[in-house]
Subunit: 175 residues, 4 copies
């Protein structure tokens, strides 16, 4: 989970907050759908970490002070997929799951060494052109079968593989 | 709930089936959304019944034999809103509610004198031009506040008013 | 999916209906939970088919004419788990998924050679003593890890393995 | 929304955090259910504010650092309803809604003058004996019809009336 827009907190303040309370995140699984709404492919961001590790993630980021969840979703989708991805933000705030990232391994399937983050997770169809920005190298589209393969899931650290499987299950495409 | 495409059943067979088993329906609440996915208006079909009664309903209809739920949704949306409504069928089949219409009044909030119908209900954003066809006179767009007013709810028979309130609640727009 | 209480239809009538319209089912995944609501084990029914095949299934059955979904759930849970299983029927009818069983293989992940069945699927904690009745040999409890193993999933025909994975994903226990 | 267990933050630190980031809450609507899972009554806490105002609320409170959502739910239910309420924490973390309380009136239907709080809301059946503690005077059970009456909703400040209506809609009991 990467957050590059520090918002209203200085880095020191964010560091301090992260040690003391759960931080609210949103996550969006970008998908392509056909006319019947069925998910045909899933978009994963390819990132290279500070240590050179290659990893795949979904769109994610913090909710800022005085920002609505749906505005945070749109902001992070535009940040990660570019300005013409045309995401379809859900009509309902009911997430398909709530992912709890703990700094300690094993409390939940999710892990974030930096913080205790609680993430509202949504499926978001995108219909436009995706141009990854910032620290993401590329956005790669996978079929549902490819996305749930061990090869792809193995490149999703911190429990993002489990989150992806939950997303695929929710849309009826987990094989 | 009106069904004008009898599908694989003759009228007699449909009559017989309706007396003996629950009939599976889908219902779609057509909405307009802004860029953040927030519902800005709700579309209700204006119908005049055989006895001259004016009523407002959402899109609804039977699921046919060997038809997927998402295909039935798209078919009924096209039937009721025309071919260029551009509905966004949900990615997940998880409905926001299941409405049970009983031929007997009072078992549930929902009532259909013709049959026991069980309906999977979805919110469906439409972005195109809606041209009601068949027996619907008109499609009228209401703000969430108008849609939940006693005047509008009072014109929705058979529990459709309750369904509309559930839909508004699900998208956080029930005032 | 086994239905042994034919209800208001004679076998011939049921046969005829099955060839002409989707049949409404409910499915319940029985689980044990701890005090925090976390699923600790999943109960699967062990059945032996007419041809001697061993298979594992969840609780399932038809919704009858003039029967509410929650009454059908309770009836099938009592039929399959006995009278003192003490199931906790969900407060909301919103299912975690809708499973569509087609007589044709490949339309969806679900398959039922006898019929087109559409099933509302729920997670149901049971706290009492389960005593399988009728055609089920036994109810076996599995940990979430065991339940999602290839060995167990391989014994769940007709797409019930996919349904079980969706259930585990919904409760955050799919590893 | 009242939080009386400050956890790992001193009052000053909490004050500071509240001015800078959204604070994660859980809310639980306590209900009584019948054997079929249908909600028969809703429990509301009666509180008297520092200024003598009488108000009714549901169970709510902060999620602490390194605390799971389901543990926070159980902790606040025990805090507000006493140790023998026997709450049935949901098996899935998918909330029926996410309520966003803003310090500014009108951004959403929810308002909290102290902070920007984002709350995961759940329906929680309780089967035991409820003995309100701390600052709550009493827990009063209402029928679904009473709970959605203007008299009761009018005593629920900050948008809690809207939350209650969403809860009733979700369980099919909003009249």
């Amino acid at each position: 989970m990467t957050e590059t827009t520090p918002g209203w907190l200085t880095p020191d303040e964010l560091e301090s907050a992260r040690a003391r309370m759960p931080i609210l995140y949103v996550e969006a699984v970008p998908v392509r759908v056909d006319d019947n709404g069925e998910v045909t492919s899933i978009g994963l961001l390819l990132r290279i970490g500070p240590d050179g590790t290659v990893s795949r993630t979904v769109v994610s980021g913090r909710v800022l002070h005085h920002e609505r969840v749906r505005d945070a979703l749109l902001r992070h989708l535009e940040k990660d997929l570019g300005p013409v991805a045309l995401p379809r933000i859900p009509t309902s705030l009911q997430p398909f799951t709530v992912a709890e990232y703990f700094p300690t391994v094993g409390v939940t399937p999710f892990h974030d060494p930096r913080q205790h983050a609680v993430s509202l997770a949504y499926i978001v169809p995108v219909t436009g052109d995706c141009r990854p920005r910032q620290d993401a190298l590329d956005l790669v589209w996978f079929s549902p079968e490819e996305a749930s393969s061990p090869a792809v899931l193995g490149e999703m650290p911190g429990g993002h593989g489990a989150l992806l499987k939950q997303a695929l299950a929710h849309v009826g495409r987990l094989s």
